[in-house]
């Protein structure tokens, strides 16, 4: 096998690498075919964290986030979803949406709540994090390509 690998000309090598890249980028990753359900999360927002900070849902789920600020006014907006809400302490805010975008999305505070406000971050995981998987596979491919592609 290694003889075969070594004998291929650079054109062939890079062709194979390119093909593998395309495969990794576009091959569908088997996700769980779970039925979309209604989910509800109660998130407490304090300086400077959400609790819970990591939410996991399946694609298609109808998600309700109940945001309750516990010390000062906080907000929540989700990257990749055009949603935003604000909660004053003692006033739970509700946000309902359908998780139709798949992947890992950060959600952030939208009301200046103190020094670390720009770093008040949580994570919404919808289904498989395809970007992470494909990125990891591509990293392996990059390693292989850098070694093999350059060999004489």
């Amino acid at each position: 096998m290694s003889e075969l690998l070594k004998s291929l000309s650079p054109v062939w090598r890079w062709g194979i690498i390119a093909l593998s890249t395309l495969l990794i980028l576009f091959l569908p990753i088997p996700g769980n075919a779970a039925e979309p359900v209604e989910r509800s999360f109660q998130i407490e927002a304090s300086q400077f964290a959400y609790s819970p900070a990591i939410l996991s849902v399946n694609p298609g789920d109808r998600v309700t986030i109940e945001l309750l600020a516990t010390d000062v006014v906080h907000g929540l907006s989700i990257d990749g979803y055009d949603l935003e809400t604000t909660s004053d302490p003692g006033q739970t805010a509700h946000l309902t949406f359908v998780a139709d975008h798949q992947g890992s999305f950060r959600f952030r505070c939208t009301v200046t709540c103190g020094n670390l406000h720009p770093f008040m971050i949580g994570k919404l995981q919808v289904g498989q994090n395809e970007l992470l998987w494909r990125g990891a596979l591509l990293a392996g491919l990059a390693l292989f390509a850098a070694i093999w592609g350059a060999r004489k």
């Binding site: 600020a69 516990t70 010390d71 302490p89 003692g90 006033q91 103190g114």
Partner: protein
Amino acid sequence: MRKEWIARSVILVFVAAAITISMVAWQARSRGVVIHARMAETGGWNPESLTVEVGRPLHLRLTSDDVMHSFAIGKSDEPPVDVIPGEITEVTLTFDEPGKYTFYCTRWCSVNHWRMRGTVEVTGPEAAAEAVEPPLYVTLGLDIDAEHHADVIPERRPSASLGAQLGAEIPTDYQSREYYRSHSPADLWQALRDEASLSSLTNQDLWDLVALTWQSNTTPQDLSAGQQLYTNNCAACHGETGAGDGVFSDDLKQPKTGEHAEMQAGEMTARPTDFTDAEHMLAASPARLQGKVLRGGMGTGMPYWGPIFTKEQTWALIAYIWTFQFKLEDAP
């Protein structure tokens, strides 16, 4: 050498420009009243006392140095104005009557948010001294700090609509506003129990009649206004469900120690009242509640809302608080 002098001038000009802009800006910002808002623990309003002549507009520029605040004048119809960190909000106020007005923060910014208050002294020709009517609990001679509990409590939450369906005659004395304000639900229940014409009704039925009476002394508009007041001002400590489990209730359970101990010197804060506790609430009259709301908790951490709420607002809020005990919606 000429090159050197040109170079030195360039540096001087550029750096001087930067500094001059800064200095000019520094001067410019001092014009006009700028109020900086901070959480009560780190200073509150700065400045916290203002003076203006009656009838003269007062231009205020408000900014926050830390978190979201809001600015409103107590007992006034002026809508609150958000005070946003790093940004300036402007508001112009004109006062028609001389006197001392309180301004306060209306968006919760810490457990001591309610202490964020300041005063506006409006000077002018002394208006005719109005007789200041003392609050009802004072007139009644009520000790609002005294212990109170109901001997008999309902099995389920009393409902005004069920009470209406009973079709019973409640003596008119008991339906008056004065009676409502000065008596507790337990008082009314006992009075109804002693009423011969109602002796066929069960205890629970009588509680429903009490709820009905309570409902007749308020309006849906008042309940709605009261709910808004409760949500904005009370829910943070007393809880959205009135159970005394609001987001700050844990902070209030024990006395504060540490760097902010001076704020609570001599105080022993206490857990916020549970409005869903029937034994406790049903033995309280609206006047007692009004007293607590106006005067505050004398060291328990309960704010005093006297300078903030108008009379109408206070009664509306109290009417809403009863909804934690009674179902006050209209009959279908």
